[in-house]
Amino acid sequence: MPLPAVLLSAKRMSAHQFVALTLANLRMIIRDRVLHGVLGVAGVMLVLVPAFSSFSMRQSQEVAISLSLSAISLVLMVLTLLLGTSSIWRDIERRYTASIMTLPVSRVIYLLGKFAAMALFLLICAVILTAAGSLVVLLAATQYPSDLPISWGTIALAVLADLVKYLLLGGIAILLSTVSTSFFLPFFGTLAIYLAGSASQEVFEYVSGQFGQEIPALSLAAIKGTYYLLPNFAAFNFKVHAVYALQVQPGSVVFACIYAATYTGLLLILAAWSFNRRAL
């Protein structure tokens, strides 16, 4: 039998491997019971939205959009944390890497397959949750019609921006999981970076104003340096636009996309570099 492996070009072979590993990892995710539980909770949360939003009567539609988007965002964050922080170190611990990485698969392809599977799963969840959320919003809106129109496009954009944000967060989680040997560092590290990165814009604006003149120059430089280093998660927040059907500046969407792609790309390069060094 001729060896097909030798006949295939390196590029095509890597592409095959990437697809195969992505699908295998997607199976791992889909067959995970914990995630079924999370999605169950998500369903319950969305079902409860009309009940809560009906309390506010006149603003029922706005509250429903706001609550649905928050619920979707929360669920996507939990999923990202669960998936990202249990990725590389756990594969090493379970010795999956000893069997997969000793096929003619490079570590970069393995890492990209993991990331792609996570991204694909989050995308699927986002689509399903948005569909469910839309029904909920529609229900709330017909109960107590609002003066504002529902901008479905902006709602979709808000979820999409959230998704992109969590992919970046997932990149951080995967990077930390390449250097870790347990759940601890990736989980708490990612969470800390998420909280810091969500607040950094406000802190930056605060110290840039009046207050900034009162703190030592060195501290100010440190705060500003951290601001530029940390991912700026505030750039991905289009929730208010979705709730009040406001016009979104195309520029801010383009910026968010380029920013996320660059940042996530750098994270994955770092993760690949770190994973390459690791003993399995």
Partner: protein, 303 residues
């Protein structure tokens, strides 16, 4: 180009307290095409360390290792090999069929080849009835069989097996040996580690003994078995017992006595037997086994 070429390979680990653990010291080894090579050593000798370096799981501290002339660690070096890790663990949320399909894709096989070959290898390792069950539910022996199947899928030229018989029942061991013998017949190269000398005797062309991270000897198994002949145990009619006063003799039954003739005295024994017209009933060589050979090396090295 040799399937495996190892030069001056050294590995120093850092343990949890960051102390240095030298697992492997200046290993030189050349494995030639078509041979079955046994890598024999007690637990902790550095066998797995060597193998992990070959397949790119770990990086060596010094020296170099190549597979078919490509540096170990480069994914391309693994295209022509089938590797079975020690106590393997596979994506256990997949079924054996799904897993083999993943392995086939990673080796660049097409769908029809994967379908055909996975049927073949599953049949070969007796895993066909469990092929559509998740690996999660497999016993240790079944996982080990799947590990063997997975090395055979793409019909590689070189097999690297880390303790392939461990965790298997006698049936499984016999199966692995048979597979290895068949592969040798087809001209494949096999490099496998073991701490069981009987495995070496059963299948190997050559054997290396590794103790404490250092290579002790490399020998042809046939030569060891030949050189190991210490003498002969010979059965003769009791009536001739009086002739063998120069040898160790003891009665075996009423009419048979057994004589041990050292290797160097065989000719003088035969001269007497010929002269007296003795009817020799049985001649059996007494060998120093590979086990004794191995134990002596280990004892000498650890003292």
């Amino acid at each position: 180009m040799n399937p495996i070429s190892i030069e001056g390979l050294t590995k120093v680990y850092r343990d949890k307290k960051r102390r240095r653990v030298t697992a492997l010291q200046g290993l030189d080894l050349q494995i030639e095409a078509g041979e079955v090579f046994g890598f024999l050593g007690p637990n902790g000798a550095g066998k797995s360390t060597t193998i992990k370096t070959l397949v790119g799981q770990i990086q060596s501290t010094a020296g170099c290792a190549k597979l078919f002339g490509i540096a170990a660690g480069d994914p391309r070096a693994r295209r022509r090999i089938g590797y079975l890790p020690e106590n393997p663990s596979f994506y256990d949320f997949l079924t054996a069929k799904e897993y083999l399909s993943l392995v086939g894709r990673c080796f660049g096989m097409d769908r029809s080849a994967i379908e055909r070959e996975s049927e073949r290898v599953l049949e070969l390792v007796d895993l066909h009835p469990a092929a559509k069950r998740k690996i999660q539910g497999y016993s240790k022996g079944m996982v080990q069989r799947l590990g063997l199947a997975q090395t055979l899928l793409h019909d590689p030229d070189l097999f690297i097996l880390d303790e392939p018989m461990s965790g298997l029942d006698p049936l499984g061991r016999a199966l692995v040996k048979q597979v290895m013998i068949d592969l040798r017949r087809r001209g494949k190269t096999i490099f496998f580690s073991t701490h069981v000398t009987a495995d070496v005797e059963a299948v190997c062309d050559r054997v290396a003994v590794l103790v404490g991270g250092k290579l002790q000897t490399v020998n042809r198994v046939s030569e060891l078995l030949e050189k190991g002949i210490e003498g002969y145990v010979i059965q003769l009619p009791s009536a001739t017992a009086g002739l063998w006063s120069d040898f160790e003799a003891r009665p075996q039954s009423d009419d048979v006595c057994e004589v041990f003739v050292p290797r160097g005295k065989f000719n003088s024994f035969m001269a007497i037997a010929g002269r007296e017209g003795v009817e020799v009933q049985l001649i059996e060589p007494r060998r120093r086994s590979i086990e004794q050979f191995f134990l002596e090396i280990v004892r000498r090295e650890t003292e």
